[in-house]
Structure formats: C-alpha cells, structure tokens
Amino acid sequence: MSLLEVSNIEAFYGDFKALYGVDLSLEQGECLGLVGSNGAGKSTLMRVIAGAHEGRVAGTVAFDGAPLPQGQPHLVVSRGVVLIPEGRKLFRSLSVQENLQLAAEVGRKGHWTLERVYDLFPILRDFADRPSTALSGGQQQMVAIGRGLLSNPSLLLCDELSLGLAPIIIKDIYESLKEVARQGTSLLVVEQDVEAAKRVSDHLVCMRSGRVVLTGTPDSLSPKDITAAYFGMETT
C-alpha cells in the first residue's frame, strides 16, 4: 500500500476545470518531483492533497490507507501531511521565532524541534526576534520550511520552493531537503526548475494542462522526453 494515493482527482475554480482525472502515488520515504509549466495544475493538486483547495473537488486522496478530508486543512495536518505553500505565506505580524513556535505548539510531536530547525538553518537563530517580513526571500523560505517541519509531517508538500530565489540559495534549500528526507519524511516537491527537481527526486511526474503526461525515474527520462511533455510538443 502506498503512503499517498491520489485517484482520479478533478478540481474546479468555479466553472473552470483545473485538474482532469489526476492519478498519483508516493511510497513511504520517497521523494516525488512534480514538474510542469505555469498553469499545469501542480499547485492546485498540492492544495487538493492538503485539503486547502477552495473550489469543487472530485476523486479521492488517501493517506496511509484512509481518505484525507477536503476543506479542512487543519485535519490533514493532524494526519501528518503538511504543505509549504507557494509564496511562503509567513505570518507578517509575527517574528521568525513566533512563526516557528506557532507550528511547534500546534503540530505533532516528533524529531523536529525548534532547536533542530535552528540547527538545520543556523542563520534563523540570529534573526529569531526579527519580523518575518524583514528577512530576505531565501531566509523567509527557510522559515517556511522550518514551520512545516515543526508540524513533524510524515509527508511534506513543497510548492515551488525556488520561486524568486537566487541559484545559490536554491541549492542550499534543496540540500536541506535531503536532510529532511534522511529523517524519514516523504516529500512531494513541485518545481518549474526541472534540474532542481531531478536532483532531489526518486521519481518525476510531469503535468500539463491539468493532466499527468509523463512519469518515470530521473535517470530513465531523457531531457527530450521531459521537454516534449513539459511544453506539449514534439522534439526533433
């Protein structure tokens, strides 16, 4: 039995259909990379899995053998599935430490503690009392990841962690994800940057126009296959 089973998911924004019968599965301890261009439906799928999509959803999302509820993301978190949303979404009137503490107080107990998050991202310890909005984009992303980890998830959903960040920062962020994976947390990573996704993933899934169009291991998929699936065109 897979840790996560996404079956025939359809999702809507009003009358607009964003996902068309998406199927996906993820094993315990696996890192699955989800790539695709803007509008492919990656973030919508992540929000559906996290129970946070506000429109209509059809199909089922099962985690650890039991369905996840829709429209109640706090219950999904209590089951061990945590989304780091696109754009970080830090609480701006809270300091860095308060953002982290909030998740630690509410979340499940486990390996990740405030101290361990500070060990993973030492720079955050120096900025603990600063407003979260006073940090650089990369540092804010570290807070967002740390906040997600403090819920001690079994499955961490990472939505476009590299968005708006410098390449050197992206490299550091993905290095930290490898440490997260080593602690046994499964990962589902959405990326537009295919190379970044390939470096961290055991399996790769490509989406286009709300459908899964390609799956495979990073080694088994050629750049030509991925380009064709990503852009929906034949390559020569």
């Binding site: 993301p73 989304l83 979404k89 009137s93 509410v106 979340g107």
Partner: protein
C-alpha cells in the same frame, strides 16, 4: 485653568466608557475584519439579561453582573460558530447584512419583552460615592469605568502580544487561509476571539447601564462611537483604540462645554479629521 483640567479629566473618564465598547469591536474587526453592526445591541442585550436575572430587585447584585458578563463568553463562541463563521468570506456585504438583521431582531425583541421604557442598573453605593482629587471630585463609578477600560486594554494587549493565544489570534488576523496549513482550525480561533469580545461587550453594556439610562434602541449610537474610536486608534492596537476613545470623550466634553448641543458633533469632528489626515489611525499595528 481648573475648567480646562476639569474638561480634560471629565473627557478622559467619559472616554473610558467609550473605550470599553470600542475594545470589543477592535478585537473582532482586527482579527476577523468583521464589522458587527449588532455590537451596540449586544451591549444592551447584556443589560436586559442582567435586569431579567435581578428578578425585580431595585439594586443589581455585582455577582449577577459578573455572571452575566462571563456567560457572554460561551454565547459569543456559539454565535460565531453557528452564525457568523458561515458568512465570513470574500464578500464583505454578507456579514454586514447578517449583523444588521441581528441588530433589528434584537431591538424588536427588547421592545417586545422589556417595553420602550428607559431602564438602568443601580448599585447605589457605587453611584453615590465620590473620589476627591485635589480641588476636584469625580464619581467613583466613572473612575471604576476608567480603571476597567485601562485594565481591559492592557490585559488584551498582553494577551495579543505576549501569549500563545495572542500568537494564534495575530496569525488569524494576518492570513486566515494559511492558519489551516499549520494545523489550526480558523473557525475555532475566530470563535475564541468572539468569546473574548462578547465578554468585553457585556462589560461595556453593564457599565453603560450603571451610568446612563438605556432603552431598546440605544445600541446603534454606541456602535457609532465605538467604530470611530477604533478607526481613530488604528487597527490592531488596543492602546490605540483606548486613545481614540479618550480623544472622542475629551472632544465631546469640550464641545459640550461650549454649547451642550454640540457634544456629539465634537467627537465626530475629531473622527473626520483623523480620517482625512491620518486614515491609517494614530497607532496602527495592522497595515491593511
């Protein structure tokens, strides 16, 4: 000189009364962006409940008044979970319509059950006591009301900025959609905010009725002053709300000294001036 000092102190004490009702509104508006048009009527509801549970006694029992205020906490929680949470979405018109409807229903219910006669709560020992300050003297009730206002503003400011609950309430104020993603139920957090606000609302109503006469239609005028105090103070700061209420109180007493007919206008003029020259308020903690 004494007249000026007297105006300032009387205005400050009057502002204390306004501050208590404004603090409840500030809490609800700050956390949920909910403009509760029934705010003033809920204040009056607490008074009528206290009158009903006084069972015809000429004086209100302080224990009854405290119990009524405490009972407004579960009332607020349930009201939020059952009614107000259902209309909080991207359309600001829905909560306005629902709370306006609630206001109309409450006013007519008061009229039906308690008649249009003016009523008040009496604790004679409190009403008649005087606190001398130098050559001036102030009613003990006014001083008590001001002390309660300072206590509530300071207490809530501490809760908001120095406690776990405060962190959750500020996070809800920042981004309610993300609250669920860290495992908090926004509906529960909103209901807790309402429970606290309803206790403050009940305290405001009870203290108002200990000082002034009320009738079934007193509520809306109280809402107006409370709303002005919140806007003058700026969103997200209870000390700001307190400052706004004090300015309204001082402006009203000043205008009333010049001409008794100008009293209410004095407060509105201050409100309009702040709105024109500093629309974010005097001490904002929330930037939108």
């Amino acid at each position: 000189m004494n007249t000026l000092l007297d105006i300032l102190l009387q205005g400050t004490l009057l502002g204390g009364l306004y501050a208590i009702s404004a603090i409840g509104l500030s809490l609800v508006f700050g956390v949920m962006r909910l403009v509760n048009l029934a705010h003033g009527d809920l204040m009056i509801a607490a008074v009528y409940v206290a009158i009903a549970f006084s069972f015809g006694a000429t004086e209100a029992s302080p224990i009854t008044l405290i119990l009524v205020a405490a009972a407004f906490a579960p009332f607020g929680y349930v009201m939020q979970r059952v009614l107000l949470n259902r209309v909080l979405d991207s359309d600001p018109l829905r909560p306005l319509l629902v709370t306006f409807g609630l206001s109309v229903v409450l006013q007519n219910l008061f009229l039906l059950v308690f008649s249009a006669d003016t009523q008040r709560l009496r604790i004679d020992a409190l009403s008649e006591a005087v606190v001398p300050v130098g050559s001036l003297s102030f009613g003990a009730l006014d001083v008590l009301i001001f002390a309660v206002a300072v206590g509530l503003a300071g207490g809530l400011q501490y809760v908001f900025f120095g406690s776990k609950l405060g962190r959750r309430l500020r996070a809800a104020s920042d981004d309610v959609a993300t609250l669920g993603l860290i495992g908090l139920n926004p509906r529960h957090i909103f209901a807790i905010a309402s429970a606290i606000a309803f206790v403050v609302i009940a305290i405001a109503g009870i203290l108002l009725a200990l000082r002034n006469n009320i009738d079934p239609f007193t509520g809306p005028s109280r809402l107006l002053v409370a709303f002005e105090a919140v806007i003058i103070g700026g969103l997200g700061s209870f000390w700001g709300t307190m400052l706004g209420a004090l300015l309204i109180g001082i402006a009203q007493v000043t205008a009333g000294t010049i001409d008794p007919g100008w009293q209410s206008i004095g407060g509105h003029v201050v409100f309009l001036l702040v709105l024109a020259f500093r629309p974010q308020g005097l001490m904002p903690r929330i930037s939108e």
